[in-house]
Symmetry: C2
Subunit: 463 residues, 2 copies
Amino acid sequence: MENIKSYINANKDRFLNELIALLKIPSISADSAYKNDVLKSAEFVRDSLKEAGCDNVEICETEGYPIVYGDKTIDPNLPTILVYGHYDVQPADPLELWDSSPFEPVIKNTDLHPEGAIFARGACDDKGQMYMHVKALEFMTSTNQLPCNVKFMIEGEEEVGSSSLSTFVKENQEKLANDVILISDTGMIAKDIPSITTGLRGLSYVEVEVTGPNRDLHSGLYGGAVANPINVLTKMIATFHDENNHITIPGFYDKVEELSRQERDDMAKAPFSLTNYKAALDIDAVYGEEGYTTNERNSIRPTLDVNGIWGGYTGEGAKTVIASKAFAKISMRLVPNQDWNEITNLFKVHFENIAPKGVTVKITPHHGGQGYVTPTNSIGYKAASKAYETTFGKTPIPQRSGGSIPIVSLFEKELKSKTILMGFGLDSDAIHSPNEHFGIFNYLKGIETIPLFYKYFTELKAK
Amino acid sequence: MENIKSYINANKDRFLNELIALLKIPSISADSAYKNDVLKSAEFVRDSLKEAGCDNVEICETEGYPIVYGDKTIDPNLPTILVYGHYDVQPADPLELWDSSPFEPVIKNTDLHPEGAIFARGACDDKGQMYMHVKALEFMTSTNQLPCNVKFMIEGEEEVGSSSLSTFVKENQEKLANDVILISDTGMIAKDIPSITTGLRGLSYVEVEVTGPNRDLHSGLYGGAVANPINVLTKMIATFHDENNHITIPGFYDKVEELSRQERDDMAKAPFSLTNYKAALDIDAVYGEEGYTTNERNSIRPTLDVNGIWGGYTGEGAKTVIASKAFAKISMRLVPNQDWNEITNLFKVHFENIAPKGVTVKITPHHGGQGYVTPTNSIGYKAASKAYETTFGKTPIPQRSGGSIPIVSLFEKELKSKTILMGFGLDSDAIHSPNEHFGIFNYLKGIETIPLFYKYFTELKAK
């Protein structure tokens, strides 16, 4: 791509100001008080896509917030890249912990970002990262360097579960047809260490209820003589891990993808300081499955965690009660090949099997999603890797993320294409937290790197 | 005692009407909106004691609600009985579950009480049972049959923890000096099976807090790699009982009183239907310490129960969080000879010892009390037994209660005397629940039996 650096330099201030204008709109999808702002944000994205050179731009209504669609086809024989992003943001509370107003963006220099960072809700997640793609497109169209076709699909419900997206994708398979999907909604290892997220964990989230006696009982009169649902629940949960922190649900590991030594060695190249990790969390030791490192435990291995537990008297002081019921919310992070419906069912059967006499149990699945993995030998991965190499001067590290992005497996299933996760955010960007920000370096580096992905993907695809 | 039956017969309606007048006063000590009613109740008791023949009657102010004191000394060389009771009542909610208004007493016939029962909050606990003692005194003084000295101490904070009573007892040891303490605030096995509560369990109540990472974490990014405080807490709680449901805290059983085979056989005479017990609680099995029956498990054996647990996300739906902290309220019921302070300390040391790396723990003792036992060979027990034999025609069954009445061990410690628990209530009286009631049969039988205790106690004491 010619002149990209000079183009960015010449337009840098405008790129920032446009993003700042978008960040000023408080498009909080979780709070209906901001409905008009969410819609305003969609219009902003529509207008931006038009200005960046998209031909067909429309606001597609859904049962929830609309999806903004835009495309530019230069030649049906050339490959098509589908860009996904979202224009909605997380709520900003707790407001009192922000150093500046979340919807009045300010640029401040920090130790990590001496050239400045934009502080605002959504700066990184995902308005900033999504807008990099709009500006990258603008560069390619305005300089006549767009090497392939492009489609944009920018939604407004990502922070509340993307509930309308699934229907939209299923109903618009032709419209969304593509050769690869490109998303910037993840992070990179460090400012000078590019990485590509190659794997995401799946999820099975269930709620369990243990019922003992038909009413709350006096612990003096019944204590020790009937099964106490809270004691029983703690005992059941305790058995979910053995002494090596392996999960004990029969069949749980049957389909778990085992990585080769080579793949694990590649992963281990990512810089990681256990000392800093522990210090950042104020813990004296890490904890997890025997035989795996911390970075493996939270990315390539499945887990089971209690996310919430409650039962009995939880107010001030003391009440000598034996509760009739106890509850827990439990989630399992899954790795590629584990099917979340199957795992949910294995959990259910196992939980019922281990319930002792004297109680009954109920298991309610909440939701879930499949894990995902992008092979590092795919054209998409290679194109992304080459793009980073060109702009950062370093081969990016393939990285498994412990989190889940259920839409990625939805895309694979419905659109039959792989997703490349080119994240430019940093762990320190404080997404979902007060003082979210996005480094100007990262923003501009994204705009510089993305067009190279288009170029290399088109070239590799042509081979 | 001469003419007691005819005296009761002649005064039956008045005895009922006086109790009904007392029950009409909503003396709910837990709710400050009823402050004036609680005080009015104290005045009612004061006036009743005067009318029943007490010489010195006074309302003794405390930091909380007053204690009504009254006495009648006929001869300093004769023994003195101290009667304890309380004039405050539990809150009445849920009001919608009452068939009649809780403070508008009504007499209704039931299957168990064809001769009628008084329905009202406090009917049994403890206004009805306390007022039996006032009417028993009236009988003895008005017929010149009082065989010994008597003191009354009726408090107004029993339902909120008797917080002023301890100071009052400590500061008035001479005034309260006695040979035996008599309380009717417990139950009997069945309407035709008298029983005497000979043992109460002690209590140690603690709150525990487990802290892992210094903030709530995303379960996708950290799940499986750090100790989850909820998982850790459940694992710690699960280890408190072994496979036989013995408690595993080192030293916990060291001082536990082991009953003889004979004592256990006596206890086993109490009628008990496991089928009915399970049906009443809707459970398919009981649960508890190996080697003991249900009635032993909830009376002569110490226990450990979680009374409340909480941590993480407990709202609707799902949140993939790893909580920074998890909490539980845990109580241990103790048996005679186990010191609650010592047990609390054993718990604390053990909980700290079993905490794994990666978390810190904090243990906060809430409160506690010693267990209590009255030997069946004591003069007090023998006098009570003989009194029941006379009025019921049956030897009462000595019964251990699983509950705790901390004031009983306070009395023993400060006043150096044993307490006799002559309860006339029934399990079905619904104390602390909607539709509390007290059988007229039980009320009058109490008035008939109590004077006999005075008589036999004085006689046995003189031997």
